[in-house]
Symmetry: C2
């Protein structure tokens, strides 16, 4: 394994473990070079790769800093619903209509790789744009991974926003499909039963440990997902 990969991994580990928090300053290239016993160019290669991946932000004259998880999210296409609505110039509000800490069901344990007695915080949230239903969110947060979630008031900050701001994630698996709205979904989203809806399931990991899973149900006729790719700029 090349030296620059070692250095990159070392810094990544310090970020993922939480030793380095978003906004913290990373030692300068000279310091890291001395610390690892390599030339500055080698350190530069590691830091450039991290900046390219969105984990760090580099600024001349001031140094390299751990990126806010939010900016990471943009690059990796996990969007915060609240920001998305506000950026579109619409009013945002949300309602938490169910919240429980409980033992995970078998299916949930499988999805989040939890042990037999693993507990989760289960939340049902609805988001509104300009007071119209925008999306339903059904979320599970692993208590083992995020114990402090138990005491957070998610009626102030919606759980997606809170998690994106606090938890650096390393992997995410998305699944997208279309369903016909069942009665309960239709009622919440103010649709007729059977209207096509877009369903996004996402499980998020932090260095191998599952953190949260979420199912987002959008009215199919009111919402579109867009993604632009450029060859050579991979997803930017």
């Amino acid at each position: 394994m090349p030296r620059y990969a070692d250095i990159r991994r070392a810094i990544e580990d310090r970020i993922i473990s939480g030793e380095l928090q978003p906004g913290d300053r990373i030692p300068g290239e000279e310091d890291l070079a001395a610390e690892h016993g390599v030339s500055r160019m080698t350190v530069n290669k590691a830091l450039s790769a991290l900046a390219d991946a969105g984990l760090v932000v580099r600024r001349r004259r001031s140094g390299s800093f751990v990126a806010a998880p939010g900016s990471q999210a943009t690059i990796l296409e996990i969007h915060d619903i609240k920001s998305e609505i506000l950026n579109a110039g619409r009013r945002y509000r949300h309602v938490v209509f169910s919240r429980r800490v409980r033992v995970a069901t078998a299916a949930e344990r499988a999805r989040l790789s939890l042990s037999a007695k693993g507990r989760v915080l289960a939340l049902s949230v609805q988001h509104f744009a300009d007071d119209r239903p925008f999306v339903l969110e059904e979320r599970l947060i692993s208590i083992a991974a995020v114990p402090e979630a138990r005491t957070v008031d998610f009626s102030v900050t919606p759980p997606g926003t809170w998690l994106l701001e606090r938890i650096p994630w390393t992997d995410a698996l998305h699944t997208i499909r279309a369903i016909n709205a069942p009665a309960r979904v239709a009622a919440r989203l103010d649709l007729r039963v059977g209207t096509a809806c877009l369903v996004i399931d996402r499980v998020t990991w932090r260095s191998g440990a599952p953190v949260t899973s979420v199912r987002l149900t959008y009215p199919g006729d009111r919402h579109e997902l867009s993604a632009r790719f450029s060859a050579g700029h991979r997803g930017r």
Copy 2:
């Protein structure tokens, strides 16, 4: 603009223009360094970035080569339907049930940035997996961008596969949404009218010039899209 960016762009241009074809050998690092009057490290940075982007493949002892567009596609998440079905171990077949060269409508001209008399090849194709309807494809190919498409027999090679193999693309815009199947779609896909379907619209460009647009309609209950992201490896 840094020198390595110039060199990268110069090579990209030669690939996109078609001067360098897939499989062609790119001059070695020493040669490029001499040609551009820079050190080998600078050329290396340009070539590494191109390899990272999937445009070139680098092999020790033999050199750097223009990548097959197919491998590019994997990285950038445009999947070939035929390969997708075959990789899943299912039988593949497709039917072209409509094919016309015609002047683009106003909406199509807008989507493909065509002039008033711009012509397109319009294709309607259905794909089957194990003889069950898998997806409907409605495709427009800009005659200006791909004149040779007029004479291709797309009943042998489906248009998506043909295009992926021949045309290096540089940008793609995806839009995903859910619809209730109208009568015609339902009949083709062997669904009841109103069944939720996943619709993917994609417009593809080659260095600023639109090449093709396609609408793929999947039965929502039979198909899921999955994507995995890793922080620091962006979409790989």
